[in-house]
């Protein structure tokens, strides 16, 4: 194969493709006055050097009329990724086997530089990296355009041979080198550490802007402990994209972030503790229906994008912006699945009681998120109770081992998620929320003498053995929610995160 690109000869047509819908052609590329084609390949270090050296100049060249296009002998997604990593600011084209464009340009090796004038004629070529020859080519382009173009910066090797063009080797070998690259962008997220261990949605500028929906990305919600990274709305939006949120969910994510960053919540302690603590998000108000949160079947489980991605977005914010990476600053001995995502919406319509946000002083029509530091859910099965007293007793005693079997009293909240069938029994009996809460509090107590095995509280340690000790410091530590499928008598209790002084914090969804 002999190079046949003598100056003045017609530049062969391009059969490469770019990211746009239309295939780029020589006429389009030279419309501004001239085009510089840089044939490259992912595996070639000299190609990488060329792209790195010239990439920063491309935008100014483009403005002056010289379109610079890297023509990769690689799949398009590989080409785009490599170009981005190397800071190539020009256009990106990709050709597939059998590399017809490279053949038409009689390529022997990459990188090869081809300057094309406005008439579609070859104005000069350089093969391999040759700093002064490339500078000369840019000088020639300056002459064609009648304007000065920025020259390649000094430094780095003056000359470097390239690698074989894939068009110039055995087609079978070229095909073997050309593996699929479709998942590389997802793999890159893992390489960057932008993950909770599961694949994420890459937070491209376009996606993050769509998530922000015109809100100011520079606005800060505060510093995220433990590393005190600043939670700008843009970073919160990046986490929401990574988590897989739809833009409609973003106001809920932002409100949850605001609540979590309230010092009263003590996210700092939760983020670094050896405890399993996760950050439970409870959503109330009309926003539940507006964005499709699941309050029903499987309310604490898989299946609903809104619940799972909102919870995940907050956790990614804590781990990435806040630096609480499990195994590094997050020192949780076991963790629990709610540390991946932990978001529940209350079934206010089925509940016999005022919803959580109304209890906490908001109006029923307000959209509100409430953050509670919580342990993993423990299921409570009861299909046989026929009185509210029996059911209240079973629910309450299920929490006897919350935190620890002998750690009484707890001075942090236990969250009970009451399923609709259980809630219906209290409705039928006319029990108020406060009555059930007080009944549960009164039901669970033990003499101090029975709590003195293993670790126990200083209170139990110092008390007379006959002293009756309640499970909770007060009835106010019992939080009652209603959610879940209409069939099945399974409620759940979520134990507390203790010793943190963590308070329950609510925020109106107001973005």
């Amino acid at each position: 194969m002999q190079p046949s690109l003598a100056p003045g000869s017609a530049a062969p047509a391009l059969s490469a493709r770019g990211l746009g819908a239309q295939r780029p052609g020589i006429a389009g590329l030279t419309a501004g006055g001239a085009a510089l084609l840089v044939f490259v390949s992912e595996e070639c270090p000299t190609s990488a050097h060329a792209l790195r050296s010239l990439g920063g100049l491309c935008p100014s060249w483009e403005q002056a009329g010289l379109a610079a296009a890297a023509v990769f002998e690689d799949p398009l997604e590989v080409a785009v990724r490599v170009a981005r990593r190397l800071g190539w600011g020009g256009r990106v084209l990709s050709e597939d086997p059998p590399y017809a464009t490279s053949r038409d340009y009689s390529l022997l090796s990459v990188p090869t530089f081809v300057l094309v004038d406005s008439g579609g004629r070859v104005a000069g070529t350089v093969t391999g990296w040759d700093h002064s020859a490339v500078a000369g080519l840019i000088g020639r382009a300056s002459d064609l355009l009648g304007t000065g173009l920025a020259a390649p910066p000094p430094g780095g090797p003056l000359r470097k041979p390239g690698c074989s063009s894939k068009a110039a080797i055995d087609p079978e070998i070229a095909a073997a080198m050309n593996g699929p690259g479709g998942l590389d962008e997802l793999e890159e997220m893992f390489e960057r550490g932008w993950t909770d261990g599961l694949p994420v949605i890459p937070p491209t500028r376009e996606r993050v802007d769509a998530m922000l929906g015109g809100r100011a990305g520079s606005r800060s919600l505060g510093a995220v402990p433990p590393a005190m990274g600043e939670a700008t709305l843009e970073r919160v939006a990046a986490c929401a994209v990574l988590a897989g949120c739809r833009p409609a969910y973003f106001p809920v994510v932002a409100a949850a972030a605001e609540a979590a960053l309230d010092p009263a919540f003590n996210l700092h302690g939760q983020a670094v503790t050896t405890q399993p603590a996760g950050q439970l998000i409870v959503v109330n108000g009309p926003v539940r229906e507006q964005i499709g949160l699941n309050t029903g079947m499987g309310a604490l489980g898989p299946g609903c994008r809104a619940n799972l991605t909102i919870g995940r977005a907050l956790r990614l914010l804590v781990a990435l912006t806040g630096g609480a990476v499990p195994g590094a600053m997050d020192r949780s001995t076991l963790g629990h699945p709610g540390k991946i995502s932990f978001c529940i919406a209350e079934d206010e319509e089925t509940s016999p009681w005022e919803p959580l946000h109304v209890e906490r002083g908001f109006r029923a029509g307000q959209p509100v998120v409430t953050l509670i530091a919580s342990d993993a859910p423990l299921s409570i099965s009861d299909h046989r109770s026929r009185t509210p007293e029996d059911l209240g007793y079973v629910l309450a005693w299920a929490a006897a081992s919350a935190w620890s079997t002998n750690w009484w009293p707890l001075d942090d909240p236990s969250v009970f998620v009451i399923c609709p069938e259980h809630a219906g029994m209290f409705r039928a009996a006319g029990w108020s929320k406060q009555r059930l809460r007080q009944f549960m509090f009164d039901a669970v107590h033990k003499p101090a003498g029975e709590l003195r095995r293993g670790e126990t509280t200083p209170f139990v340690h110092a008390a007379d053995p006959a002293t009756q000790v309640p499970k909770w410091q007060s009835a106010d530590e019992i939080v009652l929610l209603v959610a879940g499928g209409e069939a099945g008598r399974y409620s759940a209790v979520l134990g507390p995160c203790t010793g943190m002084g963590s308070k329950i914090v609510s925020r109106e969804v107001a973005l």
Partner: protein
Amino acid sequence: VTIRDYVSPFDQRVRPAERLAPRPADITGRHVVLLDIRKNRGAEFLDRLETHLAAAGAATSRSVKEIFSKPASAEVIDEVAGRADLVVEALAD
């Protein structure tokens, strides 16, 4: 064709590293503040340590954090820094 780029979830500001204060050659005559973070039994550990430090000729005093699970307040840090030559912090049980 434009090349896509990502918006990082990380706060990439580089914070200057804090420099360690110079270490004294010995503790005789030095003021050592023992900081109790309120973790279970941390005070007992500091009691024992205080005895040894006093025997070695150091002056000692105590300070305490609001709660172990939050960073020390600026007031506590300033107060300790104002009177201490050395600080010992009891971290965990």
